[in-house]
Each structure stands twice: as C-alpha cells, then as structure tokens.
Amino acid sequence: MAETSVPPTTVDEPDEGGLRRSITGKQLFFYTLGDVLGSGIYVLIGLVAAVVGGAFWIAFAIGVSIAAITGTAYAELVTKYPQAAGAALYVNKAFRNKALTFLITVCFLSASFAAAGALADGFSSYFATLWEGPPALLVTLLFIGVLTVINFIGITESVVINMVMAFIEIAGLVIVLIIGIWFIAEGDADFGVLLDFQSRNLDGEPTSPALAILAGVALSFFAMTGFENTANVAEETIDPQRNFPRSLIGGMITAGVIYVLVSMAAALTVPTDTLAGSGAALLEVVEAGILPINTEFMSTLFSVIALIAITNTTLVAVVTQPRILYGMANEDVVPGVFSKIHPTRRSPWVGLLFSGAVVCALLVVGTFAPNVEGTPLIERLSLVTVLFLLFIYSLVIISCLKLRGQDEDEGTYRANTPLLFVGLLGNAAILYWSINDDPTSLIWCAGLVAVGVVLFLVEYVFGKRSRPPGVERGDPEAAQKQGDV
C-alpha cells in the first residue's frame, strides 16, 4: 500500500518543495470513474428501459452530457478554490447567504442519504441472484451496517484499492460489451430496437418519445452522480489546476461512453420487457447465454462484480455523510457532537452512526410505508437523490457563472460559457419535469431536509456558545474546509 507516497512536506523548510500533494492525475481519473460507474448502470438500467423503451441509450447519452457539463463548472470552481471544495462553499462564495448555504449543505447530505439507500437496495437485488434466502430489507440493513463499521475502522482509504475497484467495475461492463459485440457478429442483432420507444408510460397512459426520454434522463442522471465527491480530494491532488479538470471531465466522459455502449448492448441482446422487469437488469444480458461460456459461471461472476461495484460507490457516500456533518458541526449549525473524533481510530464515529441510522430508517420507511403508486423503493430513492442533486448542480453552475472574474489566475480552468447555460437549462428542465411527474418525491425530500433542520434547532436551543466573539453561527468561511460541504 505504498501508493500515496510523497516526498515529505516541510513546514519549516520550504526549500524542500513546499506543499507536496499525494494523489496523481491518473489516480484521480480512476477515482472519478470508479465513483461514477458503480452507481447507476448496474442498479438502474432496468428502470430506465421501462420508461423509455429500447432507445433508452439516448436517455443515458443526454443525462451523461448534462452531468459532464456540470462537471466542467465543478472543475472551474475547484481550480479556483482547491482547498475549499464543495457545492455549499461555492454557493456561499457566490451568494453570501447563510440560509441558502445551509439549505445546499442539507440537500447535499440528504442526496447522499437517499443515494446510499438506493444503492443498498440495488445491492440486495444482485445479492438475491446469488442467495435468495434473506429478505431484501435485512440484506440492505446489514449492508449499510457493515459499511459503517468498515468506515469506522478506516480501511478504505487506499487509493490503490480504489483503482482496483474501478478496474473491476469496468471489467463487468466490458463483459456486457463483449456479449453485445458477439451478438452483433453472429448476425442476430436487430438494430431497430435502438430506436424503439415505449408508447405508454408506467401508468398506462400514452406518451411521446420526447416525454419518454425525459423520464429516462431523470433516472439515468442517478448513474452519473458521485462525481461531485471527487472534489473531496482536490486538496491532495498534485498540480490540481492541470490535473483536476482533465481527470474529472475525462473520467465522466469515459463513464458516459461506457454507459451508452452498455445500454446499446443490453437493448440489443435482451428484450426490453425483460430488462424492465428485472432489478438486476445487466445480469439478464449475461444470462441470455450468448457467449459460449458456461452461463452459470458467468452469471455468478457478474453478480459478484456488480456487488463490488455498488459497494464501492456506496462506501464513498457513507464516507461523505459524516464528513459533511463534521463540517457543519464546526460551523455550529448542527450539534457539536458530530465533530467528535474517536481517539484511536480518528473517525467521526457519532456522524458515522447517525448517518447509518438515517439511511436504515429510509430503507425501513421505504419498505413499510404505504406503497405510493406501486413505485419500487429504489426508483423512489433514486428520484429523490436526483431531485436534490439537480437543484445543487443548477446552483453550482449559477455560482460558477457568478464568480467569473473573481479569484482567477492564469492557471484557472475556464468552462465553456454557452455550454454552462445549456447545462443549467438541462438541469432545470429535468428538475421541473421530475417534480411535475412525481410530486410525492417532494414529501421524501422534505422529510430528509427536516432531519437537517431538526439538527440545527437542537444546536440552536441546546448548543454551547463555543464561538469566539465576532464569529457568527453558520459562517462556512469560518469552518470551510473541514467539512468539504
């Protein structure tokens, strides 16, 4: 595990090279790729296929493009403020509005909670293909529990393990691609399916291709989430002004191309209805038995790969939550107990436990709450995640535009302005459409935001006055980096 070596940084001897960082551009690229790839495609491809039809690759292509444009805004802001990564801080710098900053922070936290829940549910779907015994809820709860313990111990901090995970995730998707190419080579492929749209939506009402795609884009957006976590490690990236934009956007574009190709392969090889009905849709592609290899062996292998991929992305989410809470505790906007660090393990254990509990509560509520319109838990939670993120992404793009001309130097990466407007419009359009289509998601969003508000009230009423004179509550400049919020 000698991956993160650096020549020592000297504080007292600047001639030794000043601040040396430890993460190379290549490692950052794979960190982004692994973070993005794990989430959506394994979990969500069936749902997207269900709403769009055989042409669902278009939804992925559009979703990925909008996300990548948002990525350029992040890249620009990171090169301007490498030590102060995170949406909340950018928004704070742009608007100087404490309430808005708090809202963004809570949204980010909530998105992370919902994402972890959706991923846990996806995990249980693939897990069930290996062992059908335990009920899904039990698997998801245990999954979150184990990840919380792993994070407490802190064995996930190796950049090398991250790279290995990314390679495994890519390997799984390459298997799907090979199956697709094999299928085409055998001459069985009917390319017409790639332009096939559902004529009816999930409620059985007639729909148009444009609406079908829009519905798919909202869901496919979940597949791109995770890239914003890359900003967490910006501070430790070598030569961030050069490496960060390249690695982040390069990773996102690579992920996007893989997604589109995988969607096409899945659409060609498996009937859309089969994909739509499956919680582990990519497994259907492998089980179609197209490759002349033992199908049972391939299925097991693929399930394991999918489980690893989902675990990797969930781990990042579970690391992010206590980190956000830690930052908020330092700003005195949530109770100080969240800044408690375990004396030996150096983990923010209260934050870890609390986050795990919130995600578990989401899963339990999602399982037992009256089933709204028969929407599966995973779809509900992914939509909630996407709503939060679309809101955050839109504000990040606005902040990026608003902060133009400030804090720039010759090394600052500059995102393409017309593209940013396209991205902003795209984010806003999907956000509007998603809320319009499924207003119940807002109740879930409100519930999650309420968690943050309750924490604030607890701190407001019971919190010690630990601020030095002159520092106001909720001023993230005073607590900026520690939280990465």
Partner: protein, 154 residues
C-alpha cells in the same frame, strides 16, 4: 540520531512526545522530525485535537485539513523547543503507518515514537492499528506510548 515523532492530532500523541523528552538524552539526538499524516480519502482527513478552539477556527478559514495537520505538528514540535536537537516539521499524505515508516526510512531514523490510543477492546480486536503496523515494519526501534490505565471508579 534522528528521531521521528508521529502525531495524528490526538492528545495521546502529544503525551508520546513528552514521554520521549522525559527520559531521552538530548545530547544523543541530533534531529527530531515531527510528522503528521493526512488521510485524503477518510471521512475526516485530519482532526486536530491539540490546538485551542480559536486556533482551530482560524485554521479552518485558512485552508482545511492540511492546515489542521500543520497546527498539530507545531503544537507537538513546541514540546522540544529549546531542548537541543534540531526540530523539523513535516506533513505527509496517505496511509498513516506507511507514511511514518517511509519517513523513518528516508530520514534514516534511529527511533520512531508513536502513540497508541487504544485502551479497551477496540484496539485489540480491530485490525490495522497504526502503532501495530509501525512496530512490525519500521526500520528502527519503535517507542509505543500507551495511555495510562484508567483509574478504577469506586
């Protein structure tokens, strides 16, 4: 002799530094390097428990985890002020045990001082304790400073 004193920002690491000072002969030590390791992928990359509240707040404003690590290093280094040996301050990033061992090798250290915070079962049961790994793989003798046993409450 070059001594590497590691700090993770904990009170125990400050005690470890004081422990070294309490018995070692400053005439035999040429250099002391105080090393802090940032864990970029951890939930909290570096937590500084040593500085005052005001100092911590100022660090947060100025530059985040790296600043917090620098402050911890400074606090620990201050223990050796005027003691004799030349004091160097270093902040590295990566996996703590690896980086401490690497620093020891690069500096050709004659002793590594680490704190072991574990008091209860967490340290015995859980794998991957930094102090344990440093003991196993360090290129030189290691001083592991364990906390004093808790006085029994009646």
């Amino acid at each position: 002799m070059h001594v590497v004193v590691a700090t993770d920002g904990s009170q125990q690491s400050l005690r470890a530094a004081k422990q070294l000072k309490s018995f070692a002969d400053p005439a035999k030590i040429s250099d002391i390097s105080v090393v802090a390791v940032i864990r970029p992928l951890a939930a909290v990359a570096f937590a500084d428990d040593l500085s005052s509240q005001d100092r911590r707040r100022a660090d947060l404003e100025a530059g985040g985890f790296r600043k917090a690590a620098e402050s911890s290093v400074e606090t620990v280094a201050a223990v050796f002020d005027g003691w004799g040996p030349k004091v160097h301050k270093k902040v590295r990033a990566g996996s703590p045990a690896n980086e401490i061992i690497k620093a020891a090798k690069q500096l050709n250290a004659g002793l590594v001082v680490v704190a072991s915070g574990g008091r209860g079962i967490s340290d015995t049961v859980l794998v991957g304790s930094t102090a344990q790994r440093v003991q196993h793989y360090a290129p030189c003798p290691v001083l592991v400073v364990r906390p004093a046993p808790k006085p029994r409450k009646k």
